[in-house]
């Protein structure tokens, strides 16, 4: 765990760069976390996914995997990969400030 200042707030991040406390998240933090991952600006489509991830986490305690995201977020799997390259579920979770999806066990 390391402590870093993001968007003016002192935050704990785990080894993989995920927020330790999802409650500490804000939209300004998301913008900064996205920039660190190479996403210069967050479009309305990005926000749709990010808000969906937050809502899923609040409801179920964890974020969905890619296929579930594609079926339920209103953004297709193909577009998810364009918005959040490499691993959309993982990257969107990181920017949304929620834990890495545990579906991968």
């Amino acid at each position: 765990v390391s402590v870093e200042t993001i968007a003016g707030v002192s935050l704990e991040l785990n080894d993989e760069g995920f927020l330790v406390d999802p409650h500490a998240w804000s939209e300004a933090i998301a913008v900064e976390l996205a920039r660190r991952e190479g996403i210069a600006t967050l479009s309305e489509r990005h926000w749709q996914v990010i808000r969906f991830m937050r809502a899923q986490w609040e409801e179920r305690g964890e974020g969905p995997n890619v296929r579930l995201l594609g079926k339920t977020s209103g953004v297709s799997v193909k577009e998810l990969y364009q918005l959040f390259p490499k691993g959309p579920a993982k990257l969107a979770a990181k920017i949304a400030g929620i834990p890495k999806p545990r579906g991968c066990i």
């Binding site: 296929r67 579930l68 990969y81 490499k86 691993g87 545990r102």
Partner: protein, 418 residues
């Protein structure tokens, strides 16, 4: 009379039915079990079929014959579950009313979720997660004299997540025995960022792949399978070419789950309390095995360990007692590593696979290849049919994960989420 309906007569459904039947004794309880056919496949045996190490007759038995007296068995499909009226609608038109429902219908393969996959079977693309596909792959391997073998799991979760790694190890061993290993390249293509999901075991397994000259391609999310063009294409437009591909399709829950209002998620898995295994959608529904959306492996060992808690909680619910919340996500599996050796891993929700011994300081070696582990894996099939399904205890093997015998220092300072 209280009516218990169990959907699925595989590992979980059978062991829960048999244990409940015994535990209910003279109580006025009926137990009905439903499955779509009467073929119970010992799924861990499927891995061995392509290599000629297991025959269909060794790994398939009658479902009905595994269920004890006093359990009614229906061969039928489930149309839907109605959580409001507490009834299961079967495809034949029959309706089963229940007081308690146990869902044990596992996971199904969904090749249609990946573009080109369903059309690519027999065009250089194979699988082994069903008996039919495993037999077809056996024939294809026999005819394979050299070239690029690619093993790809499309997406997690899959049943027995170590199985595709075992397939690579066994393929290495198999081609050595056929004396053509030099002419075969083996590539393991995974959507994960490592060989496996947890750091310590990932490192061990990556080392074992490297020792065997199995190449690894990570973070590969298969968008398209092109059988005729003999290639896999990822969402970020990377290409892996093959001569023979072994592809594990994405998994979903049984189709009736998504047809049933409020029962499961969009992939057909059912949300449960991870410690009591009670469904979140209804208090009189319990879920065991691969059908449950719990953050542990989809594996027979997990199902076996869940059995204790599910049986206890069905009885507690009948009696109006408090539920037992002791399921800890315990999972273990023998990993075949080729050349008649295997290793064992043991873990739960909190503790990742590590070195040491199981079930205690004296026992089978963890994360280490031994002949004894291989014999353990082979012997387990006998235990499965005769002890596990019958719902009897396996001496020394309990539901909760043992810490004695494990090497890592405890308590851990922090848990690394996977």
């Amino acid at each position: 009379m209280k009516r218990i309906v169990i959907l699925g007569a595989g590992t979980g459904g059978t062991l829960v039915a048999n244990r409940l039947r015994r535990a209910c004794g003279d109580r006025d309880v009926s137990i009905q079990c439903v499955d779509h056919d009467d073929r119970h496949v010992y799924q861990p045996g499927l891995l061995f079929v392509p290599f000629g190490m297991a025959r269909p007759e060794d790994i398939v038995r009658s479902r009905r014959a595994q269920l004890h007296e006093g359990i009614e068995f229906h061969v039928d499909d489930v149309e839907r579950v109605d959580l409001v009226s507490n009834a299961v609608q079967l495809t034949s038109g029959r309706v089963l009313d229940y007081d308690i429902l146990v869902v044990a219908t596992g996971a199904v393969l969904s090749p249609e979720e990946t573009e080109g996959l369903a059309e690519s079977w027999s065009a250089g693309v194979h699988s082994y997660y069903t008996l039919e596909s495993a037999l077809a792959l056996e024939s294809a391997l026999t005819l394979f004299d050299g070239g690029r073998l690619v093993v790809n799991l499309v997406e997690m979760p899959i049943k027995c997540p170590v199985s595709p790694l075992e397939f690579c190890f066994l393929a290495d061993s198999y081609f050595h025995e056929r004396k053509i290993r030099d002419g075969v390249s083996i590539t393991y293509v995974t959507p994960l960022d490592a060989a496996f999901t947890k750091p310590i075991s990932s490192q061990h397994l990556a080392g074992m792949l490297a020792e065997r000259h199995v190449e690894m391609v990570t973070e590969f999310n298969t968008a398209r399978v092109d059988g005729p063009g003999r290639k896999l294409v990822s969402y970020d437009d990377r290409v892996v070419n093959f001569d023979l591909a072994v592809v594990i399709p994405a998994h979903s829950g049984a189709p009736y789950v998504t047809r049933s209002k409020d029962l499961g998620d969009a992939l057909g898995f059912i949300d449960v309390d991870p410690h009591t295994l009670q469904a979140k959608c209804a208090p009189n529904v319990f879920v065991i095995g691969d059908a449950a959306g719990v953050p542990t492996s989809k594996a027979g060992s997990v199902t076996h360990f869940e059995g204790d808690v599910v049986v206890r909680n069905v009885l507690a619910f009948l009696d109006g007692r408090e539920l037992d919340g002791s399921f800890d996500g315990h999972s273990n599996c023998f990993i075949e590593t080729g050349f008649s050796k295997a290793m064992l891993i043991d873990f739960n929700y909190e503790v990742e696979p590590e070195t040491g011994h199981y079930p205690a300081a004296v026992g089978l070696s963890l994360l280490k290849e031994t002949r004894l582990n291989h014999l353990g894996k082979l012997m387990f099939q006998w235990l499965y049919w005769h002890v596990l399904l019958a719902g009897r205890e396996i001496p020394g093997i309990s539901g909760a994960m043992p810490l004695a015998g494990k090497h890592a220092p405890r308590p851990k300072e922090e848990e690394v989420s996977s």
